[in-house]
């Protein structure tokens, strides 16, 4: 079973539909037991860092537990940013701190948000990238990006004014700044790769 953590974070239907192409048993839930009993967990997210952390307050201990137990975990978009320690979007609320570092806003770019299809440069070949070529296009929509302290968690980068980390991996925790569920065939391939992780 794969659970998608429900904390009032927008459109969960498309991520569920995408995962269902590869795994029959997909549940959207905020039930602690259901999250703890999952084989894999997805933390989606759109919206504001501070609001999201407030909505996640009750589920923090569950997330720490599944990460500790090395259950494959995928954070998407804001769900990636929440893994860091803090964000410029909301400085007085702490993030999950599973990945050391912070989240910063794009500066000196013409257009914010960074919206549309951009290519992803593979830094390391991890199972999530299996059968996905270097520089494939994925769909992004965000104004902030992650800035991890430990460089070795960065496995994919993207260029928007500056080169920023867009795929990170530490143990069984994976996260993407883009939306694989909205990135056509290539994105679906990445979701399939996540579903097939052991």
């Amino acid at each position: 079973m794969i659970t998608i953590i429900d904390y009032n974070a927008g459109n969960l239907r498309s991520i569920k539909k995408a995962v269902e192409l590869y795994e029959r048993n997909v549940v959207i839930t905020n039930d602690k037991e259901e999250i703890l009993s999952a084989d894999k967990v997805i933390l989606p997210g759109v919206g504001n860092f501070g609001d999201a952390m407030k909505n996640l307050e009750n589920l923090k201990d569950v997330i720490y537990k599944i990460v500790e137990e090395r259950v494959p975990f995928l954070g998407i978009c804001l769900g990636m940013q929440l893994l860091l320690e803090e964000s410029e979007e909301c400085k007085d609320i702490e993030g999950l701190g599973i990945i050391k570092g912070n989240v910063v806003k794009f500066k000196n770019v013409d257009k914010i948000p960074h919206m549309g299809w951009n290519n992803v440069k593979k830094v390391k070949d991890i199972p999530l990238f299996e059968n996905i070529k270097d520089n494939e296009y994925f769909y992004f929509v965000h104004s902030y990006y992650v800035n991890p302290t430990e460089e070795d968690v960065i496995v994919g980068t993207c260029d928007y004014g500056i080169e920023f980390p867009c795929v990170i991996n530490k143990d069984n925790v994976y996260a993407t700044q883009f939306h694989p569920e909205k990135s056509g065939k290539v994105g679906l391939k990445m979701i399939e790769n996540f579903v097939e992780l052991i």
Partner: protein, 274 residues
């Protein structure tokens, strides 16, 4: 590098695409779900549904349509037409849309943009602006009524761009550039900009309008109205500084595929996803 987006627009009436299509091999060419799949295959970067008969009773048809499309199409889907409230946003997003476009309701109640952005995030709030050239005599440029207007010089004299609502039936006196800046402040994530002068002409996008909005806001701008060929799309990016281009009939009538347009752009140095 961030690519320029090509976005097919499907006008929906009673759950069907109303502009004719010339696609063969489709089970049902008027079915928006089928057509969305075709454009997805061709490499469309997003899909826009505009519900042109968006009365309350018809809303359920749209919800069903969005649900069915979201099941099969894994690229971003924007839905617009008659959206009036946060509750409308919630229902359509829940059905599987990624972005919602608002037009008349945003002008009448700008707070809707802010409320929706606060609740659902800026990324899903698209403000649609229908704008029309409002020409001004050269001698009147210094008049007080024109002081807050963003005036450009065109081949036909000076003009500013007026925001229209109710599907282009009612002028508001609002300057489109000022309005774009305002919705950016309110938390909109993108602007869908339609030129009423160009719409339906197939003579090309209004490049002066597109450039004026694009250069005066940080928000991504989708150019719309007037697309008749691939060169027009190129011009919207090159001279209009648009981030995305919306088109309907040139795709629906099979004059071009999305891929053909992208190849044309690529040859001319515009970054596209192929």
């Amino acid at each position: 590098m961030l690519t320029k987006r090509i976005i097919p627009c499907l006008d929906i009436k009673d759950g069907r695409v109303v502009k004719g299509t010339r696609f063969l091999n489709l089970r049902d060419a008027g079915d928006p779900v089928e057509l969305s799949k075709v454009y997805d295959e061709q490499g469309a970067d997003e899909i826009v549904f505009l519900d042109i008969t968006a009365s309350y009773e018809k809303r359920d048809i749209l919800i069903d349509l969005v649900e069915r499309t979201a099941e099969q199409v894994f690229i971003p889907l924007t839905v617009g037409g008659g959206v009036k409230s946060v509750e409308d946003f919630r229902r359509i997003l829940r059905a599987g849309a990624d972005k919602i476009s608002v037009n008349t309701a945003a002008v009448k109640n700008p707070n809707l943009v802010k409320e929706a952005a606060d609740i659902f995030g800026s990324q899903c709030v698209v403000v649609a602006i229908d704008a029309k050239r409002h020409y001004v005599n050269e001698g009147d440029l210094e008049k007080e009524e024109n002081q807050d207007k963003y005036i450009v010089k065109t081949e036909n004299g000076y003009c500013w761009f007026e925001v229209y609502i109710y599907g282009g039936r009612k002028g508001t006196g609002i300057d489109a550039v000022q309005w774009a800046k305002k919705v950016e402040e309110l938390g909109a994530g993108e602007i869908l900009l339609t030129s009423m002068d160009a719409d339906g002409t197939k003579n090309g996008y209004d490049l002066l309008l597109t450039k004026a909005i694009s250069e005066n806001t940080k928000l991504p701008v989708i150019a719309s109205g007037g697309c008749g060929n691939a060169q027009h799309v190129y011009e919207a990016f090159k001279f209009g500084k648009a981030d995305a281009a919306l088109m309907a009939s040139i795709l629906h009538y099979g004059e071009y595929t999305v891929e053909e347009i992208k190849l044309y752009l690529k040859e001319r140095g515009i970054p596209v996803r192929l």
